[in-house]
Amino acid sequence: MSDAEHAVTGIECPVYLQYHFTAGRAPARFLTRIREGVLTGQRCPRCSNVYIPPRGSCPACGVPTEEEVVLPDKATVQSFTVVAIPIPNNPIEPPFVVANLVLDGANIAFIHLISECDNSAVHIGQRVQAVWKPREEWGYAMDNIRYFRPLDEPDVPVEQIGRLSVSGWEG
């Protein structure tokens, strides 16, 4: 073989760094409560919108948020996708439904899974409820909720999504 065929053209460089991660005050508060099975958002003192999971600020107003609001585990599908490919760092087998869900009483969506239904039946405005893991498996994590499953309730009109009170949708 010639020298050229022998030449080094690439190398593998392992770059592994160790960090100590801290969740932040507002997220830590949220995670502590979800460990007890309670969903807790924060209300902006200026615009009154409720954020969950809370970040400690209202991104729209740029002010700290303090007031806590306990929310039910019922939500509405704001939008969704069916993920058909495996995702790095995500152990769930495709295909699975990932949805933007708005909890009753909240004004912002978060991403979670929908299951116990035909993927093709998922739709915008659909009512869903959390399916929790067994209590003994609860930790400081959003995946204490295994997924959301459809509820037998009428759909929420699109313009009402993200505007429901904690008492939910009466139809």
């Binding site: 190398i11 100590h20 991660f21 932040g24 830590a28 970040r55 600020s57 107003c61 740029g62 700290p64």
Partner: protein, 353 residues
């Protein structure tokens, strides 16, 4: 050219660990403080926002995106970000004002560098084929530089200790400092080596936190009716990444930046230098041609507490504070980036009168 003013500055305490506070929670108090200083509500009341941070200090991609949540960016704002110390965010904002697209700007920098092992994180700033895979840490590189300086007879261990002693002494008046107090040179020199020839005290302590600043045109500063310092010059220069090809006992890039910023065009009463290692303050003071009349690092400098990604902006802020307080009429601020002072920024501030 548009005359520029620094009108507000705030920085957090230099905390060994910021505890529970996340980025938004670190930044927000500093933003609220600078808003209060000029009497504005939030980022909507300035024309431009620019921040400085580094994903690898945080250990996550897009660390700066969370920062936007602290701004109240609804309706949307003109905003940008440098993956550098926020002193370079200041530089970007200066250009924005000079080109007439803004009359005022908010700058901030932040990090939680205690999350990782900073000297090892910074080793990955080196070239990715020859040095980064060896994990040559930033303290060791600075130690190589220090020995060159010592053995060239350009500084002594005593000189380095004097820098540390002065830093700790000055920091007694700085409520944000991490390290302060009375030390003797003898006691310092009696301490064990850390990475020889550096002792621990020669190295800036890592700190978590944030700093924020507001700059504007002089016309806007008058409109706001707030005290201000004139930002009369700012420039920055970089050098080769090959440490073997640099004269590590000098800082030619600082010299170039100082000339372009006009440092020598008047007396320098106060200088705040971003020297994360004691010997680097000696190199910088020489490169800036500071005389005996200049008070160097009256805040204690970063040897008293180093807010990565914000310390450069804080140097500007410290000079600003002294000028508006009437402690000085003209001062120089310096920021650095990269290994062994590779990249340097110099700003000149003057009193308004």
């Amino acid at each position: 050219m548009q005359e520029l003013a620094v009108v507000a500055f705030s920085q957090s305490d230099c905390l060994a660990r910021a505890g529970a506070a996340n980025e938004v929670e670190l930044i927000m108090p500093q933003l609220q403080a600078v808003y209060a200083q000029v009497g504005i509500r939030n980022a909507q009341d300035v024309d431009f926002v620019c921040s400085g941070s580094c994903d690898y200090l945080q250990g996550a991609a897009f660390a700066f995106v969370a920062g936007v949540d602290a701004l109240g960016a609804v309706p949307p704002i003109k905003e940008s970000h440098v993956e550098m110390d926020a002193a370079w965010a200041l530089y970007e904002a200066v250009l924005k004002i000079r080109m007439g697209q803004a009359e005022s700007a908010l700058l901030y920098g932040f990090s939680r560098s205690s999350s990782g092992d900073l000297p090892m994180v910074l080793s990955q700033q080196l070239d990715p084929y020859y040095l980064a895979p060896l994990w040559v840490d930033s303290i060791s590189l600075a130690a190589l530089q220090a020995r060159l300086l010592l053995e060239a007879g350009l500084a002594s261990e005593q000189d380095m200790a004097e820098v540390v002693v002065r830093s700790r002494r000055n920091a007694r008046d700085n409520p944000h400092a991490r390290l302060r107090g009375d030390l003797s040179i003898e006691a310092l020199l009696a301490e064990d080596m850390f990475v020889s020839p550096l002792r621990r005290a020669d190295c800036a302590p890592v700190a978590d936190g944030a700093a924020a600043m507001i700059i504007c045109t002089v016309a806007r500063a008058r409109e706001w009716g707030v005290p201000y310092a004139v930002l009369s010059g700012i420039d920055h220069r970089i050098e080769t990444h090959n440490l073997g090809m640099r004269d590590l006992t000098d800082s030619p890039s600082t010299r170039l930046a100082a000339r372009a910023a006009g440092v020598a065009e008047g007396p320098v009463e106060v200088a705040e230098l971003y020297a994360p290692f004691s010997h680097q303050e000696i190199i910088l003071a020489r490169a800036l041609e500071l005389g005996p009349d200049t008070r160097v690092n009256p805040s204690g400098g970063v040897l008293a507490g180093n807010l990565m990604m914000a310390s450069g902006l804080s140097r500007v802020g410290e000079v600003f504070r002294r000028i508006v307080a009437g402690d000085a009429r003209r001062g120089v601020a310096h920021a650095t980036s990269g290994p062994c002072l590779q990249h340097n920024l110099v700003a000149v501030l003057e009193s308004a009168s």
